[in-house]
Symmetry: C2
C-alpha cells in the first residue's frame, strides 16, 4: 500500500461515537451514590470514552505515550533557547528513563514509546523506533519543510505505529513531542489552520528573550508568506510549514481514532499535529482529549479551533507528553468510578428528594 492508501484507509475506518454506549454511561452515572453531575468533568470523561470505546463502562488498562522527536531547519534562525544537539540528547534521556515524561508516564501507569521521526543525528538504542525519512526539516522560512511525499510517508508511519500499538492492546494513546525549535512550526500551523496572525500564535517557547522572540515571529510570517499552505489540506500544511514529528503524530492521532482508541494531546506541537489530523480526517477530532493548556500563548487558540476544553491548567510548557501523562491518570480515575462505586440501590442510600422540594 502506498502512504496515500494507508491514510485513506485509516480515514475511512474512523467511526462516529456509539450513542447507545454514551446513553448507557449516562445511565450508569445516574445510579452511582452521588448527586447527579457532582463529579463534573470526570463524568464527562466517562461518557466521552464510552462512546469511543463502544462500551458503557470502558477501562483504560494499557495506556501508551508516543513521543516523537525531530529536528527543525528553522532552528538555524535561533528561535530556541537551546542548541539542536539537545534533541538527540533528550531522546537518549527519554530512553534511559530520566526525562520528565518517563516519571509522569510511570505515575500514570503508561508505557513510553520513543520514535525518531527526523532527528539530525542517529541515536542508537534497542527501544528507539526509527521512522525517519529525512534528518530534520529544511528551514520553512525559504521553502517547504519537506516534500509532499515525505509528509505523506510520515503521516502513514504514524498511522502504522498507532495501529500496531492498538492491535497489541493499547487502549489510549497520549502524544508527546521533542524537537528543539518546534513551537515555531506549531505556531505556523496554528496561524494557517485557525487563520490567525503570527502575533497571536508565537510565544517564547522554552524561554527565549525579546530579540529571539522577534526573530521567531518574523520566521513564522515569512514561512507562511513563502509557502502559502492550503489550510484545507492537512498534508500540504504540515509538509510546507510543519515538522517531521508533527506529521508523524498527526498520523498517530488518525491511526488511533481508526481503531476506536482515544488520543490525549499534550502541548502546542502535539496540538498542531491534532490540527493537521483534523484537516486530514475531521472525524478524528471526536477522539481527542485536551490534557492541559500550556503556558505557550498560542496553544489555547489551537485548542479553541478544535473545540476542546483542556482538563488542566498547571502553567506547564515542557512538552514530551508530560501533560498527556497527567491527563491519562485523571482519565483512569474517571473510568474507575463507574466500575467501582456503589449504586443507590446496592448501598441502600436514599435518592434526592428534589420532587418534594420543588413543591414547597
Amino acid at each position: 500500500m502506498s502512504a496515500r492508501d494507508v491514510i485513506d484507509a485509516a480515514v475511512a475506518d474512523i467511526r462516529p461515537p456509539d450513542e447507545a454506549a454514551r446513553d448507557g454511561a449516562r445511565g450508569v452515572q445516574s445510579r452511582l451514590t452521588k448527586p447527579a453531575g457532582a463529579l463534573g468533568r470526570l463524568e464527562d470523561l466517562h461518557v466521552w470514552a464510552a462512546g469511543l470505546r463502544r462500551d458503557p463502562r470502558p477501562t483504560v488498562d494499557r495506556p501508551a505515550i508516543v513521543v516523537a522527536a525531530a529536528d527543525h531547519g528553522v532552528a538555524v534562525e535561533r528561535v530556541s533557547a537551546y542548541p539542536q544537539d539537545v534533541t538527540p540528547q533528550m531522546v537518549a534521556n527519554m530512553l534511559a528513563g530520566g526525562a520528565a515524561v518517563c516519571v509522569l508516564a510511570d505515575h500514570a501507569g503508561a508505557e513510553v514509546h520513543v520514535v525518531d521521526a527526523g532527528v539530525l543525528v542517529d541515536v542508537v538504542h534497542p527501544r528507539l523506533r526509527r521512522v525517519k525519512v529525512r534528518a530534520g526539516t529544511s528551514s520553512i522560512t525559504n521553502g517547504t519543510a519537506m516534500s509532499r511525499d515525505d509528509a505523506e510517508t510520515l503521516v502513514a508511519s504514524g498511522i502504522d505505529v498507532a495501529r500496531e500499538l492498538c492491535d497489541g492492546g493499547v487502549d489510549v494513546i497520549g502524544l508527546g513531542d521533542m524537537g528543539i525549535g518546534n513551537t515555531t512550526p506549531a505556531a505556523a500551523i496554528t496561524s494557517v489552520v485557525a487563520g490567525l496572525p503570527a502575533s497571536a500564535t508565537v510565544g517564547r517557547g522554552t524561554g527565549v528573550d525579546h530579540v529571539a522572540f522577534q526573530r521567531k515571529l518574523a520566521a513564522v510570517e515569512r514561512a507562511i508568506e513563502v509557502n502559502r499552505p492550503d489550510r484545507s489540506d492537512g498534508i500540504d500544511v504540515v509538509g510546507k510549514v510543519g515538522g517531521c514529528e508533527i506529521a508523524f503524530l498527526a498520523g498517530v492521532a488518525v491511526g488511533a481514532a481508526s481503531r476506536s482508541v482515544p488520543v490525549v494531546l499534550d502541548g502546542y506541537p502535539t496540538t498542531a499535529a491534532a490540527l493537521v489530523a483534523d484537516a486530514i480526517a475531521p472525524a478524528s477530532r471526536g477522539y481527542m482529549l485536551a490534557s492541559h493548556v500550556s503556558a505557550e500563548p498560542g496553544h489555547h487558540f489551537a485548542l479553541d479551533h478544535l473545540g476542546l476544553e483542556p482538563l488542566l491548567d498547571l502553567r506547564m510548557r515542557l512538552g514530551e507528553g508530560t501533560g498527556a501523562a497527567l491527563a491519562i491518570s485523571l482519565l483512569r480515575a474517571a473510568l474507575r468510578l463507574p466500575r467501582e462505586m456503589a449504586t443507590f440501590d446496592s448501598a441502600g442510600v436514599s435518592r434526592s428528594t428534589g420532587e418534594t422540594i420543588a413543591e414547597a
Copy 2:
C-alpha cells in the same frame, strides 16, 4: 489537658516553612533536564512541600484522607436536596468502599479514615472513629450550632486525630466532609470570615431548586443576624454558625500543620474548616493546598480569602475528599520528578544558550 490546652499547644507548635529547604528545592529544579519553570505548578508544589517537610526532596509515602461526617440542624429548613438519613447511609457506604472518595483515594494510594463527628444516628463499624460530642448541630437560624465547649472539644479531637496519624507516618492529610446540609454552614462561615453577603456565598449545594435556594439564603442571613459571630475568633464562628465536622476538620488542619504535615483541602465545607483553622492558627495557612475549586460559587471566595489558588477546576461539587484525592495524586507526581529525573550533568544534556541569544 483541656481542649483549650490541646489547641493552644498545637498552635504554638506550627513552624514557618524552612527557607533553606525551599532554596534547596529550587536548586534541584534548576538542574533537572527541562527548561527552567517548564513544569509550572508541579515545581511550585515541590518547593512548597520542601519548605513544610524541611527536606529539599520530600516524598509523600503515606497520604491519608480524613472524612468527617455530621448532621446539621439547619437541614430541617429543607436547604438540601437529600434527606438527613443520607449522612449515615453515606458513612456506611464509605466504610464499605463504595463511595467516590474510596475509589479516588485508592487511585492516589491514600488511606481513608472515616470519622463520626456528629451524625444523628450511630453507625456501627470497626473502622469508624467516633469523636462526637453531640448528635448534630442545633439549627443555626435560631441560636448557636453548638456550645463553645463543644466547638473546642471537636477542634481538639481533630488535632488529636491528625497528630496520631502523623506520628504513625502519615505525611499528607486530605480533608473530606459528609453532612447533608453542610454547604449552608460553609456559606455562613465564609460570609462571616470573608465579610461577604449571603448572596455571594450561598449556592445550590447538591442541587436544590430556586425555592429551596431562597430558603437557604434566608437561613444563612438569619444565622448570622441571630448569632453575630466574632470573625477574629475561629471557635466562636464555628460554634455559632458552623458544623461538628467543620470544627473537627479545622482541628485536623491545625494538628497536621503542628506536625509539619501538609493539608489538602477539598470543596466548600472543608475550606470553611480551613477558614476556621486560619482564624485559630494563622500559621496553619501555609500548610494548606487548594485541590480544586468546586462548582459551588462561594468556594472561590473562601479560597481567595486564604490566598490559595486551586490546582484543578473540574466542575466537581461532591465533597467527601474527592478533589483532595485527585490533588494528592498530582502532588505525588510532582514530588517524584525531583527524585527520579536526570540532571543536565548526569544525562549529558546541554543547557540553555540564553546568554548567546541575548547578545544577538
